[in-house]
Symmetry: D2
Subunit: 376 residues, 4 copies
């Protein structure tokens, strides 16, 4: 068993999902490599230590630059707010570390491009945690598309609907609500939620040519956790866009945090000439599939329960009928990364892959600002 | 166009569904015969007249015996409470009229047998209004089974769940609640609801050999609308039974009026070696279908929306995607009856067919009373 | 009972739905007025006669101008392809007839404005058959919104997805496929399908300020039924748009005939501060409702089966749990129109109401052509 | 942190679920105690070693009696086929070890009674792995019932449907298919599947008075993995029963391995006077809830997505909208057991609790054999 020594920066929600991925991957996916949790880094030493104790990190750092100097660390996992991704990732690459960066890659395309160049110049392994590619149902969708079952694609539609910011008393800024602060987050739902939808779409349906978008900020001012005062809200609360894909299909995307009744409703649907697919994060263990070649009197949407050994990742889990959940996407991503170290194959999505999503996000925000179509 | 002159006895809920069937059948199903609404009969002349005016009955009678004497009437439609089915049907047969009787056929098997002998001796056309055979999804289920798609059948389960009698203040007896009065209804859910489930089951899955049942009466006394006093409730509020079918499959049936949240949830599911089917009255325009021969990675229950021209009855209605509802089952039954007059074929379910359901109901009630298995 | 003498122009799919509405309305909804089917008009006399025989029209005309001259006709029902709506409606108004026109009102806003002026000048009763307002679940949605249950509205989204034109061998033009011929239809999915979505949206959520749209024509050439030759397809196969409503909410609309697996999936969802609603034509007897004021541990989307007497229109139908279907929307519209004659209240949607939808359709098509936002 | 030293007997499917529970409990649920994986025991040393390496067991034993002698082990986890539960559990209790036994407790009531007496006499902590009590949705159901939200209960129905033994070529006996061998398993679906349904029912709805059952063995002979010959199948392939609960409600239970289309469809539904609940293992993160006190026009079954911090166990997992799965039931059971060590409270279900399920199973099998009602 070869160790993969991990140094993590940040210990928030994503710190937990990644740590769990490191802890569990080898229990279910036999790999030559095995993550070793060497250090977690955060400014608050006490909280970092509690996190380290819980997950078994061997040490704690309070300055990520110090962590980069350590020889006993192979890979840096960047779990910070978005505005720190660039600096840490580039420094990590320059220090010769593998870089595993949370999504979105960067605050904008220019920053992302620098980050790509840094990891490519350094020749270090890199990936971005767009975890939804590794929901078994989503991976199966990719397989069905690659097998040509859908035929010519006409439509791709996706949305990501939440409702947690409807209350105007939710503040912006700070540990729990930095996603509402434009400085820390870069954008609102576009970078947080649509980025997931776009990453999946690019993977399943290919490149996007141009976009036309609209954004809205429903609550114009919120208390800022740091200033303690009401400040203008500069992120997008909602964003919709349509687009043309290179393959000739039309895309339609929507995201909001003001859709009462939806906690995290990420759905997509793809309509092809011969078959259609849809999926929904709230019931992530099912893939809906419509096959036009079925005998017409019994043709209908099939609700496929993804728990059989023949379906992606599932032979490593339990038995047919028994579900896995959200956290498993990160376990799969760790397992696939470990496997890529073994085989030497390029892990996806790489920084370069994630930059494509960044380009679309930038075009979307530009389009909304200028009320005009924008090429990607 | 040949007239089929109808004389109806009763004008309650079923009087409306049948009248609508007569009014609509020829609008959608081209037939040589066409119902003509000659007379409706009820003791209350004023109410009968209002009903006649609404539906276009040409005349009103207050004594069904008088109606049987009329030469201008071809068929007697028996829409009365259950305890009058026998007397009217036999007299109608003896008067040479066709007899179209509401379900259940009779209060018990012995009465039903007399009724069968009467219509057979008289050689008159006859049928019983087990309308659910003619939900397009149910008719399609019959077709799929007859085509052999399911293979060997292992399980048949059905239930009919309602919640309208939970309130102990609902009275028994009288026009609206005669179904709670054992004298008028014969039995409770067994004759009212399970009879539907049994009729469908016999049609789809063949004969039943033996049964074991349990019944319950949750509310022991209710005000009687006629006496104005609390009287013991003698009907079954709930009834469950299992059974062996002749084809070796196991049956499981349940009915109740105490299933909070279900208005009229009639469902059945059939599990065969190769395929399974399920259906639900609350969404009657869908048939759920599972085909084990589907490619395993995309195998799942299909939700088949029954609205295409290739599906039973549907080419006579609207266009794909647009639903029909409950009342259409009666329209289909009228249309099929009219067609049977044209072709001379036996209409189903005949009195004789319906007697089979009566036998099972009797065995179920006997089994529950004696806490023992009973042969049918 | 007062007669309302009907003269219908056209006898296609909508001719059937309207005729059924006239035949059935009084069976279920007690009204002072009752439709009398005086005449149906079509160029093909034989087919018109067959239609008249089936539905009980007393006479047949082959020139609608002749029909307008008849004194025994009170109301003209315009069921022709879209390009004839204007001429017939204006002439009918000038002849002093009530005008009941199929949707969309006109080929464009200018024509629609002329039609409005004609009926208003003549002072004749008028309505447009946007039938989906009278699905009981949709009417209930209107009631819930008017009661203020949703609070401030953030999002309105709707789509209308079909798949019947994917096959490139479907022709354009002619009786069955005039909807693919720009000359007869005016537009493609915008006027055919989105017009329904827009009418409902304006009714439920108020006026639309501006729109940004995209259209696509996937199959560029189709055989024309009249010329027998391949001709360019000039209609929109798919159309999406977003918009701002006057109430500050964002709208998102999509329609296509290339969504494999959907026959007629008209859905809408409205997200308010306090509650959300969604509805789906494929299961039109259900309304999904989410109420944020529910106790949080048991809060969820409710699937409300619309069949109780307290829900709109349903006390006139069957009993709880038993569904009605598509055709009933037209029966309700006829019944409401008859009632409006009695009360003198304005029937909705009037020509003027429908003109608002036409304005949005025009803005949508302009926006798509010019790749720019358009005010309505 | 106090260690809880675990010695596990067996390493099959349940060995994996338990090991994962031990590995994960403290990552998510802060506890004073923490499991330490001291030893795994199995006859095949090589396989046991591989299992130990994967999960981090410190040592391997090949004779469970040796393991009982070790002072460094606090608790014995019995994961063997059913026919070994008794001997190992009693010996473990006599050795002063806590005993954590897989379900069903025993082959029959008499054995179970001996086991209860052994742990009670020894005064050792004990529990049985009826894991479905700790699906958050099921735990929430318990809470809702205990709060009195359902009122008087009328009906409890449950089923557990699978389809994996339809193929007559599936053998009996051996590591993968011992559940088809009566000697190893005791019974078929009754002990394997119905036992789960009964445990949940007793927990949620109280004691069962009497039962009436039917069983069926559809495939009469199967190859035996040990003899290599076709042998009669002595287990029940399917079993249904009804029962009376002490609270006056009727129960209806069904289980089979011949329900084509269902992998592991464990469902239950409870109908109370005021509210109803239903749940389904295939979508285990949802609880369906119907509350009759809802305003009637918007009353319907709520689909409650169990992922909020206020719902049982969920504040320790991710964020609203993100699912956990099957394996988490074991993590919860471990966490609750660790907590019970801290608080001294009795862990449920204890051996004594599980004996109640055993009594019902015995009565069910007796009833089926004798075709008669049996008291529990």
């Amino acid at each position: 068993m070869k160790p993969l020594n991990i140094g993590m920066v940040g210990y928030g929600f994503m710190g937990r999902t990644h740590s769990n991925g490191y802890a569990q991957a080898n229990h279910f996916f036999p790999c030559e490599y095995k993550p070793v949790l060497k250090a977690v880094c955060a400014r608050n030493k006490e909280k970092a230590q509690a996190f380290a104790d819980n997950w078994g990190y061997e040490s704690v750092e309070t300055d990520w630059r110090e962590m980069l100097k350590r020889d006993d660390i192979d890979a840096i996992d960047v779990c910070t707010p978005n505005n720190l991704h660039k600096e840490i990732s580039i420094a990590a690459a320059e220090a010769g570390k593998m870089v595993l960066c949370e999504k979105p890659l960067a605050l904008n395309q220019a920053d992302g491009e620098e980050m790509c160049q840094a990891v490519e110049k350094a020749g270090v392994k890199n990936m971005v945690w767009y975890n939804y590619r590794r929901v078994p149902a989503v991976t199966l969708a990719k397989q069905l598309i690659d097998e040509g079952r859908l035929g010519r694609i006409f439509h791709y539609r996706a949305n990501f609907l939440q409702d947690w910011t409807i209350n105007a008393d939710v503040p912006q800024g700070g540990a729990a609500t930095w996603r509402l602060d434009a400085e820390a987050a870069g954008s609102g739902v576009t970078g947080d939620l649509l980025a997931h939808c776009i990453d999946t779409a690019l993977w399943l349906n290919g490149s996007i040519k141009d976009v036309s978008a609209v954004t809205e900020t429903f609550v114009k001012e919120r208390m800022h956790s740091e200033t303690g005062k009401k400040e203008p809200v500069k992120i997008d609360d909602a964003c919709s866009f349509f687009c043309h894909f290179d393959n000739g299909s039309l895309g339609l995307f929507e995201s909001t945090r003001y859709a009462r009744g939806h906690k995290a409703l990420y759905t997509f649907e793809i309509n092809g000439e011969n078959a259609s697919i849809r999926w929904d994060l709230h019931d992530l263990h099912r893939l809906e599939y419509f096959d036009h070649s079925d005998d017409s009197i019994v043709r209908g949407w099939r609700s496929v329960h993804i728990s059989d050994g023949e379906q992606p990742y599932m032979k490593n889990w339990w038995v047919p009928g028994l579900n896995i959940g959200y956290e498993h996407t990160f376990i799969h991503q760790v397992a696939d990364f470990l496997k890529s170290l073994e085989t030497g194959e390029q892990m996806h999505p790489s920084f370069r892959d994630a930059l494509e999503t960044q380009k679309v996000c930038d075009a979307v925000l530009d389009s909304a600002a200028q009320r005009a179509w924008k090429d990607v």
